[in-house]
Symmetry: C2
Subunit: 255 residues, 2 copies
Amino acid sequence: MATNVVFDLAKLRRSCAQCSLHQLCLPAGIDHDDLDRLDAIVRRHRPLARCERLYRIGDTMDALYVAREGNFKTVAINSDGEEQIIGFHLPGELMGLDSLGTGQHRCEAEALGPALVCEIPITALEDVIHAVPGLSAQLLRVIGRSVARDQDHLEMLGRRQAQERIAMFLHGLSERYRSLGHPATEFSLPMSREDIARYLGLVIETVSRGFTRLQDEGVIKVRGRQLRIIDPAQLEALALGPQDAPREQSCSRSA
Amino acid sequence: MATNVVFDLAKLRRSCAQCSLHQLCLPAGIDHDDLDRLDAIVRRHRPLARCERLYRIGDTMDALYVAREGNFKTVAINSDGEEQIIGFHLPGELMGLDSLGTGQHRCEAEALGPALVCEIPITALEDVIHAVPGLSAQLLRVIGRSVARDQDHLEMLGRRQAQERIAMFLHGLSERYRSLGHPATEFSLPMSREDIARYLGLVIETVSRGFTRLQDEGVIKVRGRQLRIIDPAQLEALALGPQDAPREQSCSRSA
DNA sequence: CGTGTGATTGAGATGGGTCAACCTCAGTGG
DNA sequence: CCACTGAGGTTGACCCATCTCAATCACACG
């Protein structure tokens, strides 16, 4: 048993160093003592099954979470019970910032498939920031990336053409896989069409037609959740938009 | 002169205590020494004129900013030169988180009118977190509120009815004014229709028609940028959506 | 082989985009 | 004082992209 536990911890630590979280866990020049202190604080959460929730709306904040294996979605639910997808979270990506403002979660985090998370208890966070030099800078960086993803999402939703939103979504996903060291042009979509639709502010049929059209144009190849990007340049072009004359914006001085 | 400077600092400090930033600047139980240390670090920025920019896309991160007086917008610009409004920032609200991930700004912050900002140099932030106990918790709270505003924005953009987006926007703005201690049912919109449209992913005509329709329905009264909310309950109802049967979402177990 | 869930496809309806005219108002200058 | 100008906002008419509704397909599972 004891050897088993030791083995598990070693494995977990190694996988933490591999995952993109290592930039949070292992600030430049971290020494062994600090690493141990960190290890003592980061809880390796129980494995989650598909559909299991990390937290629900209204839950009191008690931790920040990082997807370690598997993918998650965060979901807001509006008064008529309709779900809106706030974000998808790939391995190494942060979840739970939504509770920092009020101390209560404003959305739910649900595993899209079998998954593992690392959990940083909020109470311990304060201490560890002061205990581990350089950690606060790393934490801010991870927060910054999470904010950047939200802004990418905002930019998708700001586009008025469904096809552009879909192209941006696929392009962005591809880039996130690339930065994880996964193949960027061939992967399996971790979420349903329904989830994609609710992420992009579209209905499922429009997403489906968009995929089909991209396939007809030779940009991608889809079969169910299996996706291959045939023409990455073209996909990027579609994601970037019309690419017209870069107009100069003027701000008139008068009130 | 000397007395003048003293007077200014005192005034500035007082106004900082008044503004909603005081929850960042003045963590519970902060003592005078800590307050002084903080005051030494927070730069009171030069006043900004309408259209002046705090930072531009690509600028290297050097600070976080809090609107002190006046309002700001943050703007992303996509390849075809079209502006997308990422956020509006009222007094006490944070700007600049977008640079934390990469060290470079991914959007521009522009004053919507004459404005003042407080600036927390990023280099000093690290130090002050360790110097002022309780500050990191406060900082995280302010970050959390900023994230929450982004999520509200995402929820607006996820709505497919223009009228709902507009209602949510006005309702949200009203709530933000309320929390600032301003009248929540009568205020002046700090931004143009064009900005509202680019914030909501709509065209300006749709925003205009939406306002007119809300006025015809007796929910609001608009004249130019002057806004009065006649029927706050109705506005909230529209913002919350159809308010139908709260459906139960099931997540099927099968992959 | 039936059943259920997720995805695709088709046909028709409609909300919001597009284009264009017009209004409002502040500033300017005769 | 009025006319002119320009920017921001409103309104109308038209049209198309996307939503809606419905049928069908694909595939996994019992």
